[in-house]
């Protein structure tokens, strides 16, 4: 288990390999689809982002509201591929890590290697458990987006696994022992059907 403190730099990232289990400590910025769209627009226009993105990790999450007295509600990862179109721009602006679930596009995997960043996977569907790792939470921008606002979290020992590293490795692919589904349809000669 590797302990990581945010922000992260290239030295730390170069030591991370696909399959490494990590515990993240420090700040995570929470954003999903709608916030990504807004952040990317700012980058394209050359405008200032609502937070200093250098060396930071974005957690793809839209938490449930906290009950009174709680820090945050359920807060597990959402599916990452929806953020793929926006990710290279954020990496070019200095983002160093992403935390979500599910595989990334080829463009993102290439951008991870190019900009020396890392993609972490968390377990989906255990938001109640993961919420216990968040010790502080606040909305820092886009409050009007409700659950899609931009969040700032402080986390303690947040568990994740390295999926894509700078060396081009992909943990999901490596773990997948895919069996090819044979095309068995044509093995049967079923040409006598009347299709009308």
């Amino acid at each position: 288990m590797i302990k990581i403190n945010t922000p992260i730099d290239e030295k730390i990232i170069s030591q991370l390999h696909a399959g490494d289990r990590v515990l993240i400590n420090g700040i995570l910025f929470g954003a999903r689809d709608a916030a990504h769209k807004k952040l990317t627009k700012l980058i394209q226009r050359g405008e200032k982002l609502p937070f200093d993105i250098n060396g930071q990790i974005i957690y793809y999450v839209g938490p449930t509201p906290p009950r009174p007295g709680e820090v945050i509600g359920s807060a597990g990862p959402t599916t990452s591929y929806r953020m793929d179109p926006y990710t290279p721009a954020l990496l070019s602006a200095g983002l160093k890590g992403m935390l979500g679930k599910g595989a990334r596009s080829e463009e993102v995997v290439e951008a991870i290697a190019k900009y020396k960043a890392v993609y972490f996977g968390a377990i989906g569907g255990i938001g109640a458990l993961l919420s216990q790792k968040i010790i502080k939470a606040e909305v820092i921008a886009y409050k009007e987006l409700g659950p899609e606002a931009l969040w700032k979290f402080e986390v303690k020992d947040f568990p994740a696994i390295v999926i894509n590293d700078i060396y081009g490795r992909d943990w999901y692919k490596e773990k997948l022992r895919l069996i090819m589904v044979k095309s068995r349809i044509h093995e049967n000669s079923l040409t006598e059907e009347e299709n009308d």
């Binding site: 709608a34 999450v61 839209g62 938490p63 449930t64 509201p65 906290p66 009950r67 709680e70 509600g73 359920s74 807060a75 597990g76 959402t78 599916t79 591929y81 679930k101 599910g102 595989a103 996977g121 377990i123 989906g124 569907g125 255990i126 938001g127 109640a128 458990l129 919420s131 216990q132 987006l145 409700g146 659950p147 899609e148 696994i161 943990w171 999901y172 773990k175 997948l176 022992r177 895919l178 069996i179 589904v181 095309s183 068995r184 349809i185 093995e187 049967n188 079923l190 040409t191 059907e193 009347e194 299709n195 009308d196």
Partner: protein, 277 residues
Amino acid sequence: MRVIQTSQIKEEVKRLWMEANFELPEDVIGALKDSLEKEDSQSGREVIEKILENAEIASKKKIPICQDTGFPVIFISIGQGVKIEGPIYKAIEEGIREGTKEGYLRASIVNDPIKRINTGDNTPPVIHMEIVPGESVKIVVMAKGAGSENMSGVKMLKPGDAENGIKEFVLEQVKNAGANACPPMVIGVGIGGTVEKAMLLAKKACARSLKKSSSFMAELEKELLEEINSLGIGPAGFGGRTTALAVNVESFPCHIATLPVAVNINCHACRRKEVIL
């Protein structure tokens, strides 16, 4: 004629909507525990243990099982001998609205697929209403997660594609879903009818209990589950045997020219609660 007030329906929907989000159904917990024994991957077992621990925390602290508290999908079967007093659609909607607020659930519904402004209270729900014989009302409330919903699909096969074609399509869908659908998944398959009927069957199959009854589809369900669990995706996509907890198939007669197949995937947070009034 038996009279049921919509105020009662509202209260039941509200309760079921919250409970679905806090309490993982017993059959799902049972299937997860069973899978622990068969899972040979260590990371797979660890993920399943965390899923079970998560279910305990959710139930004890009333924190939603998942931050995606889902799209409210309501199946309501009304006995022909029942008279409903009041506006029923409005009552169901109000139940979802109140449950969302009282349960501190996330508002996950946008008012328009293009403009995308959050409605703030998870309304409107998707409601499937049917008239059935008898004098009771059955309400099933599903909290349908979007990560797995996004991995669903429908295909119009040729009649000649037969069972092998069906299997091939289901396996393709599951393979493409991978970690996105939060495995171990529950796979709902709808076969037959028309294109929209097939998907509705798949959704109903998703909402069905994981406990198996004997039907002529039981063999297909068993074979599909075995093939899915040799794909290697495993819990959370970290590798392992347990890619699916169950495959549920529902079928309906179809046209001589068609073989519709629909796959609706549910995540391991297979959340649904029901009541019979």
